[in-house]
């Protein structure tokens, strides 16, 4: 079961009814059962890993809470982090480690690879592992008390709106909500439904439609010319945004209907005027997680190197981000590119600010537009490494963009027309939300008639041009 499967449209209303009819004290049991049912529905065996991560985290954080010795606390924290990272490393990186060992041994004319095992990456493992690590570190830092109720902690790790692709939530935010007395709230339900509706629009109308074109081009990079590859490379960031942003909105909306506030994951990223601003708007939950648990401790450790310490911390953080996305050289390059962009910005930030202030540039629309375009181009250029299947393919894409001219591949015209139409609506909404949030109100209009027409039009658009037999969410693979 996924958010876009028809089963979910039956499952979710039933869970909402069941949840609100359960006494508050036992509501977490209903949600925990629903979460495991949701996850088991994808592949039952995966639930065992989730349960294992939960049990290990529960046990070691409880031990951390019971001891007053800091060295022991640290030991328990490290042991738990290593234990819960093991499945992630095994499922995500075994094949690459195997290949690496094979190459290494071959250098010495030895052939002794580890046995090849076909592994399916448990969906969401990267997300709930990070949530569990965050909780463990927070307990170690005494920012939160270790959770005594195993059921509540299990719900935090497996909460069905978040388990597949996040947002990567924090225990500080979720645990108190799971224990609080939550009553049915009209505004929460209405907001949740709006988020879900817009999320479905982003996913089904924009992402999956653009995905058909992008897949057609990137699936046969050697058959397509530079113009088509360039166009597909520009479309891919939009596809990814609509896909992951749409997923996140459905997740946030789902949680909100159930009475829970979950953090925002995307905030109009393609209107950022610099890469540092972009990363405050794109996959916010991952970046804030990395900032808190990786970047900040690292930059503290490297503080004696001043600005170069920041550069080192940025490069390491985004190297980890690249590895988190995938254990391939292409993702490492992708991560290092982000680190490099941000490092250049960090090194030039002071001069840039003085220059902008001197010429009063930050309020000039042409300057803002240039910043938006430049930031998008940088991100799109790095995304070639994320979309191509290997580093060789990524370089081939670049080579063909510059050396193989030709006319744009159109394929079925309707696919591009629907995709561009949906994307235009999405970008117009983002522009309005960013620069004129009180203009042209549809979902928030004071007249009920306008609101009803707005909701119904989105549903009708999804029915008319949504892709119903489309693919998976891109971020499931991570």
């Amino acid at each position: 079961m996924t958010f876009t499967s028809f089963n979910f449209l039956i499952f979710f209303p039933l869970i909402v009814i069941l949840c609100y009819s359960t006494p508050v004290k036992y509501r977490y049991v209903t949600l925990l059962t629903a979460s495991y049912f949701f996850y088991i529905n994808i592949k039952p065996i995966f639930a065992l890993i989730t349960a294992g991560v939960t049990l290990s985290t529960y046990l070691f954080t409880r031990l951390m809470g019971k001891t007053n010795s800091w060295p022991w606390k640290k030991r328990f924290m490290v042991i738990n982090i290593v234990l819960i990272l093991l499945p992630l490393f095994f499922f995500k990186y075994f094949r690459n480690i195997n290949a690496g060992i094979f190459v290494l041994l071959e250098l010495f004319h030895l052939k002794c690879p580890l046995p090849e095992i076909k592994l399916f990456l448990p969906i969401g493992i990267s997300f709930y592992t990070f949530m569990a690590i965050g909780y463990t570190v927070d307990v170690y830092n005494e920012e939160i008390e270790p959770e005594k109720n195993l059921g509540i902690l299990a719900l935090f790790v497996s909460f069905f709106p978040l388990i597949l692709s996040g947002p990567i939530e924090r225990a500080k935010n979720m645990l108190p909500q799971f224990k609080a007395q939550i009553n049915l709230d009209y505004n929460m339900v209405a907001q949740g439904l709006k988020f879900m509706l817009w999320g479905y629009f982003m996913k089904l109308v924009v992402a999956d439609r653009l995905g058909i074109y992008v897949d057609a081009i990137y699936g046969n990079i050697y058959q397509h010319n530079g113009t088509s590859l360039l166009f597909a490379s520009f479309l891919y960031p939009f596809q990814e945004y609509a896909d992951f942003g749409g997923y996140s909105l459905i997740a946030i909306g789902t949680a909100r209907i159930l009475g829970f506030n979950v953090m925002q994951n995307f905030k109009r990223p393609f209107l950022a005027t610099s890469m540092s601003e972009f990363w405050r708007r794109w996959h916010i939950s991952l970046i804030s997680w990395l900032t808190d648990y990786v970047y900040t401790p690292l930059s503290f450790s490297f503080r004696k190197y001043k600005v170069w310490g920041i550069v080192i911390a940025l490069m390491i953080t985004f190297f980890i981000s690249g590895i988190w996305h995938g254990a391939t050289l292409a993702f490492v390059v992708w991560g290092l590119m982000q680190g490099l962009f941000l490092s250049i910005e960090a090194l030039t930030n002071k001069e840039k600010s003085i220059f902008e202030k001197k010429h009063n540039l930050s309020k000039k629309s042409w300057y803002v537009s240039m910043g938006v375009c430049f930031t998008f181009i940088l991100f799109a250029a790095s995304e070639v490494f994320a979309r191509a299947t290997s580093i060789n393919d990524a370089f081939t894409v670049y080579r063909r963009i510059f050396t193989v001219p030709g006319t744009l591949f159109i394929g079925r015209l309707s696919i591009l027309i629907y995709g561009v139409f949906g994307l235009s609506i999405l970008l117009l909404k983002d522009l309005r939300d960013e620069f004129a949030p009180s203009w042209f109100l549809l979902f928030e209009n004071k007249h009920k008639f306008v609101r009803v027409i707005a909701y119904s039009s989105i549903i009708i658009l999804v029915l008319l041009i949504g892709v119903f037999d489309g693919g998976q969410f891109i971020y499931y693979q991570f």
Binding site: Y186, L413, Y418, V452, I453, I459, I460, L463, I465
Partner: protein, 307 residues
């Protein structure tokens, strides 16, 4: 508060219901009024044609069977119901709709389908959605797409999902000029220009039993209707030893005792660039030659068995 939530949701649902009914109804109207293009050919095959010979199949049917050759050689009317990219489920659904109206004298099933399990074959059943409400006989086939199709089809728009642009464009007269097909046959005048080496590999796959059952049902229904049925595997450019689908067609045809003519490794076609538009599809020259051969074999078979 619950009342307020339920009321507001109901109001939105009502608005969606009205819009869905109006837009879906309009699309349906345009869809069934088309006079050219693949939607029209589908409707024509299922609801209108009374041709004596019907060809069923995917793109290899569309490109390989020339109506005039069959009509001149056998002295009967001909229609090619083939649809690009649509497999045995669609062919079975078309046959069921045809047999509900009349019995053709002769049915040719043009093969090419892989019997592997793939989601795409089921996704493509969406092509049959506009016919679901009118054609009870195809409902079980459509429901293979997902167990929820019946519920989804409460929506009037759903059967025409992603088709609005095509439907609107096809309703404009000028678009009809682009439809080059004649009696379902779409000639290609391209010439294949690449060399392909002989392929000796033979990879097996797990059979999709739904597809195999659909093939059997196609043959038994055609036989029971009293039509003569011939199963034909058309020529392919590439040389190869064996394909699992050929074995399946052969097996089923042997069980059902219907003729199976395999042209896939016919040396007069294989590796002959002048007869192919691409590796799987004949160009017009190839289609003329192939249609002549098939027509001659049919003539021979009918004469042998008697009228």
């Amino acid at each position: 508060m619950i009342k307020k939530i339920v009321f507001n949701i109901a109001v939105v649902f009502l608005a969606v219901f009205v819009l869905d009914f109006v837009i879906g109804g309009t699309l349906r109207n345009f869809y069934f009024r088309e006079t050219s293009g693949s939607f029209f050919r589908g409707t024509y095959s299922m609801e209108i044609t009374k041709a004596d010979i019907l060809v069923f199949g995917a793109s290899t049917a569309v490109s390989n069977y020339v109506p005039e050759v069959f009509e001149n050689s056998l002295g009967v009317t001909f229609y090619n119901t083939g649809q690009n990219g649509l497999g045995i489920f669609f062919q079975l659904a078309t046959l069921k709709s045809v047999l509900k109206r009349y019995t053709p004298k002769l049915i040719i099933l043009s093969c090419g389908e892989s019997f592997s399990k793939d989601k795409e074959s089921y996704d493509k059943l969406a092509y049959l959605l506009p016919y679901y409400s009118k054609h009870k006989e195809i409902r079980k086939i459509v429901e293979l797409k997902s167990p929820f199709e019946r519920i989804k089809l409460i929506s009037e728009i759903y059967p025409f999902n992603s088709q609005i642009f095509t439907i609107l464009v096809r309703s404009i007269e000028i678009a009809k000029i682009n439809d080059s097909s004649k009696k379902g046959y779409d000639a290609s005048y391209k010439r294949w220009a690449h060399k392909i080496d002989t392929v000796n590999t033979y990879t097996t796959y797990a059979e999709d039993q739904n597809k195999v059952m659909a093939l059997r049902e196609f043959i038994t229904q055609a036989k029971e209707s009293g039509a003569n049925i011939f199963v034909v595997y058309p020529p392919v450019f590439q040389k190869f030893n064996m394909r699992q689908e050929i074995e399946i067609y052969n097996r089923i045809c042997l069980i059902e005792k219907v003729p199976f003519w395999d042209f896939s490794r016919d040396t007069s076609f294989s590796n002959n660039k002048s007869l192919f538009a691409d590796v799987d599809h004949l160009n017009h020259n190839g289609a003329m030659l192939f249609s002549g051969l098939v027509a001659a074999k049919i003539k021979q078979a009918i004469n042998k068995d008697g009228p």
